[in-house]
Symmetry: C2
Subunit: 492 residues, 2 copies
Amino acid sequence: MTERSESDREADVSVGDMGPEHFRRHAHEVADWMADYLATVGDLPVFPDLEPGAIRDLLPEEPPDEGEPMDRVLADFRDVVVPGLTHWNHPRFFGYFAITASGPGILGEMLTAALNVNAMVWRSSPAATELEELTTDWLRQLLGLPPEFDGVINDTASSSTLYALAAARDVAWPDAHERGLFGCAPGRVYASDQAHSSVEKAVLTLGLGRSGFGAIRSDGEFRMDPDALAEAIRGDIEAGVRPVAIVATLGTTSSASMDPVAEIVQVASEFGVWLHVDAAYGGAAAIVPELAPLFDGWRGADSIVVNPHKWLFTPIDCSVLYCRRPADLVGAFSIVPEYLKSSEQASARSLMDYGVSLGRRFRALKLWFVLRHFGRGGLVAAIREHVRLARVLAGWVEQADDWALVAPVHLATIAVRFGPGWAPDAEDRANRRIIERVNRSGEAFLTHTVLAGRTVIRVSIGNLKTTHADVARVWASLRRAADIVRAEGETP
Amino acid sequence: MTERSESDREADVSVGDMGPEHFRRHAHEVADWMADYLATVGDLPVFPDLEPGAIRDLLPEEPPDEGEPMDRVLADFRDVVVPGLTHWNHPRFFGYFAITASGPGILGEMLTAALNVNAMVWRSSPAATELEELTTDWLRQLLGLPPEFDGVINDTASSSTLYALAAARDVAWPDAHERGLFGCAPGRVYASDQAHSSVEKAVLTLGLGRSGFGAIRSDGEFRMDPDALAEAIRGDIEAGVRPVAIVATLGTTSSASMDPVAEIVQVASEFGVWLHVDAAYGGAAAIVPELAPLFDGWRGADSIVVNPHKWLFTPIDCSVLYCRRPADLVGAFSIVPEYLKSSEQASARSLMDYGVSLGRRFRALKLWFVLRHFGRGGLVAAIREHVRLARVLAGWVEQADDWALVAPVHLATIAVRFGPGWAPDAEDRANRRIIERVNRSGEAFLTHTVLAGRTVIRVSIGNLKTTHADVARVWASLRRAADIVRAEGETP
């Protein structure tokens, strides 16, 4: 992003949009910046060592009265914004779930932004609706799901799960769509104590209240206990509480554990309850032949969410909701006002009917680019490599004194713990101090969780740029931080 | 997007992501395509004259086993996808609400895609959270709203309205957060019969049922009747139905009518009911001094939604929800699991707590670019020009035999009707045939609505490339289509 002439600056501050040639120049500058970023992001600190408010302090509190030259805006982007970011597209980002904005995905987003179409109904942009149908069907085939599963793209798994549970609610109480939940006996949605917070948020949103969420205990490997599930449902039915839905998780957030979905399908079937599978993170692994057995039984679900923006190299946001009962999904939401009616409704799907959001970005384009660029073979190879790296790291952890794996390794997110044999509270603090040290060093980014009451360090491997050397480096950082923490003692 | 060498093709199909230099080349190709598109989109048919399924028929039903060269993917984009789009970024797109992906907004989205950060908590990307706070506060100042209004960016107004009404629900029934709506007396949300469908969808989602939505009659200018509102609330209270919220609309979808919000504030205050203002479309006009009086009273609302992706030249998606009672919004949703806790929670906002979606794109970046590129002056000038063009067109309609304005013109979306004096049903059909003719010609894109029981043609002006000549051209197209329809007679 270079200096420009005075006339360019004039062009910038005129009323209205920048012209196409003015846009072209900046788009090329930005394209170069992006390529440089992708080439060198690994040299940046992953996490900025800042205090809250540090970025706002550098920026004016009031909006400008006059337009500003784009060069100045882009300079502030580089100088103020970028140093204040946690770099999710960094090879040593191991926090939350590690993700990738791949090249083809970014190209798709560029075009999506320029087109700015809205895929709410077929007519509002036919190719956007049809490409969404096509790409979600391609992904369904890659995942090994049967054709009954109808896909639609939402922003996040939180939305996808909300929509699925809305359908389940309306199936559980057929009158609720008309009369609401008022006067109904209470109902409950079940998920394991390891399920994602979005399940409980959805339950709250849908009007079931916190008591409408039933946490089912998980076993020693953090998998939902199907017997405990059946027992909870049986007890609720006896107490007059209606079972609304079960949410099974394939790839939990804390430890990437895999609920025994084949057994859970049996329970759902026995009680006639909607089964939603949260495979937002784990689902991608179903593409890999040797990992597919982990998903045995998920075809028996009523709905499944898989997020290509998690482990399928697609820039956020892109969450695919599959539903074997799409009419129930549409039934929960469809209200078609006059200004959205169009003549082809009988022959074309209106994707707005499958959820809350009317406005729908053209998210299928980036997913289509990614699936074509990688092909099945490329996706399998990339996911397989992440799982291999996770196992390498897990092996090192198992060999190390004072370190332990806290959960079995199925996918590419592992949970580890530094355990020098101190009192549990002191060990918890030590693990937090280790994370804080590694993060502040900028070498890697990690997040914690709590498993079986103990603070645990998560390491999620999911960026395409992550190599064996990066994994070795985060492990060295962890051990170095642990040495310092050990030297400081239990209460530094 | 030109031909490439054999070695490039090899690079494309290797396992994993494209390298930075490979990305750089395609990013420059795409940047040029985007600039060309912005320069020439006005020469394309606005709407593709296709039948449903036409795009899918051109594409393989199965995903590729091996990765494909990006050149082939981009060629299919140009040859198959682009001809199948309705071009929302076209100067003669007058359907739904006309919008603009402006240059600075597109540049912001490019960078957002490459960074791929997630603004769920401060730590997950500090600058993304702080820039979201900053830009929503800048916009608040531009809109003339007081500092009590706290802003957060959501994907769409549908989500923003859902979140606001979730807060209202939990305020109306303080026990509902814990126990759900079971056993509560029924409640109701009120909006005019012109309100957007997202209000009713939110009511359904929240568990209030269709009977939980009360449509208040609008007056001859399609504005909510505050007396009818007060009467409905009074009647409901007497009947044991709890008033939950009122939704006032500033810029309705059918006719851009403006509810008398100052009077509605009085009603909300009298009954102690949450007032949400849907200014998703209209809100932008509050920036223009001579239009600001249309918004008198909206400061008295509890929550307001304004969508920069509608009339503020920001690529979709970008919807800002302002809330004067942010604690109530957080209260409705906040569930913080262990893996998302971080040490700075006391001093930094976690934006994920303000709604359902956990994953949150870095949408503030594009909004910041837009606000800086245009400045207050540029925004005022652009919106003012759209309103001026709408009035010019309205003047032509008023002068024309057989044509009539169906609603007063406040903003830049007008409702018109061809009325040759036939039977009402025949006239309705004629107006639909006119839209169909104009759309199939590719010259302009229009959508219909129904106002006071009659089919009406909407013309929404909101693209920055739209000129006086474009407005003259759609008017000529409408009259030409009407001449043909008239010649065909009442039942062609």
